[in-house]
Symmetry: C2
Subunit: 291 residues, 2 copies
């Protein structure tokens, strides 16, 4: 239980965190810091934060600051917050790439202010608090990337808070985190975009879209996400994502070779490996069969 | 309305067609021809067909024969059916690739027996009649690939039947069909498989799978489909699919170049094109938000 939590950036993730914190009584006071007045008003109206304030006002007596801004500005906000952070305050973020942010945040913060990098593995293709959902993190992995410098008490408090959200806290070195999300999150995203663009570059684009069945729609759902946000993510995790693309190409080449050589064994081998692995994954919990 | 319809191959598609035909009273009699006795018994039990029979028995008095077997054996079944087909009988199929099948079927059938290639754009990752759903075709495009030789009356009757299923009949030249599905259906499938294999080839496979959130799960859902069926589809539509892979690679290269050169404009351009196009597509109708 926290007394006062400040959420800087009340968008989809910040808003969903706020909703869950408020509805589940995980903090006595949740204050939003948000440049967009309409978004802040909406956040207050839907109950994602109790009130709005400037960074300076909000941070008075705050025990926890959650940086939930777009990844490109999180460090800037942290820098602005520096003069107003008290000893003992915990700072975390929700960025999809951790390396650079964790290193800089640790270098920036004075002793006694505890930074722990965080990354909830949940999202939707909508932006802003309007799409926020109290249950967005339910059952989701919530990654924390502590370092040797991380305060263990702060880490434990954060883990308890995450469990309170219904999410599963998981510790990971930030290097490992950035490699993992490059493959499991960033690669799928750019593949979905490239697939949609393959369709739209075709002279028969409209016919193709008319024919798009569930398979295509599922495969490309994430391509509907915010391009600016994804550019920042891809460029921030650039070298890891480029490596992931290379690894994907190898697998695509295997399937292509199977087809080129009419190599049934190679082709069935690839498809069967994929089927076996994919079958072990649970269905997307945000969706349900209509049946 | 048909008097007697024969479905050869009562699996997911044949079974779902049978369920819809029976439940919607689109035929007085629906007879299943199915090599797998258990599957046939189940098909009768769930009401996907009224009865089962051999091809010879079933085709007595049949007005419509639907070839719903795996794509590799449809022509073989048609050949076996030849001696038992009466003048005026309509024959259609549900194969995902049309060129070769339509050409051979037309060459094989005598005058007076009317072939119309068909392809319902719907499916699930489960095989067999156990996964059949009466509403599988509801709202889905159902492609028909008539040629100059196609009997117009037969075509019209089929279209009416398809409308009766709740699907949207759509005419397309088979060449155009095979090009279109290579991009909109077969390419997404092999990309999903290659993506899953990228994960499973990684030394940290289990960590990656533990982190797999909704985005990855959606993107790879279709990779859980039957490998044999997909090998047949990919090899039958080989040259079109190989071309589709090439086109996809160009789009992937664009995104990669954007990252390599830190070319924000190129990168955002690609992601924005994808977002714009994907946003125009309706959500997958087989799924619903849990909210």
């Amino acid at each position: 239980m926290f007394n006062k939590i400040v959420i800087a950036g009340v968008g989809l993730i910040g808003g969903s965190l706020g909703l869950a914190l408020c509805k589940r009584n995980l903090a006595n006071e949740v204050v939003g810091v948000e440049a967009n007045k309409d978004n802040l008003d909406l956040a207050i109206r839907v109950g994602a934060v109790h009130s709005g304030a400037t960074l300076a006002e909000a941070l008075v007596g705050a025990e926890l600051l959650i940086l939930a801004t777009p990844i490109g500005v999180a460090l800037g906000v942290l820098e602005m917050a520096l003069p107003y952070l008290s000893k003992g305050t915990i700072v975390t973020d929700v960025g999809s790439v951790k390396g650079r942010l964790v290193e800089r945040a640790e270098a920036m913060l004075p002793a006694g202010i505890h930074f722990v990098g965080g990354h909830p593995m949940a999202g939707l293709e909508v932006a802003g608090v309007a799409g926020a959902r109290e249950d967005l993190f339910e059952g989701a992995s919530y990654l924390l990337t502590p370092t040797e410098r991380t305060d263990r008490v702060a880490l434990t408090r954060l883990k308890q808070l995450i469990e309170g959200l219904g999410a599963k806290p998981m510790e990971l070195a930030y290097q490992e985190h950035d490699q993992a999300v490059a493959i499991i999150s960033h690669l799928p995203h750019l593949l979905a975009a490239a697939l949609v663009n393959t369709v739209s570059a075709d002279t028969k684009e409209q016919l193709l879209l008319d024919l798009a069945a569930g398979g295509f729609r599922d495969t490309t759902r994430i391509a509907a996400s915010n391009p600016m946000m994804w550019r920042d993510i891809l460029l921030t995790n650039r070298s890891q994502v480029l490596e992931a693309i290379e690894k994907f190409r190898e697998q695509l080449n295997l399937i292509e070779q199977g087809m080129l050589r009419f190599d049934s064994e190679l082709l069935v081998g690839s498809l069967t490996r994929a089927q076996n692995v994919r079958s072990t994954l649970p269905e997307n919990r945000k969706y349900c069969l209509r049946k």
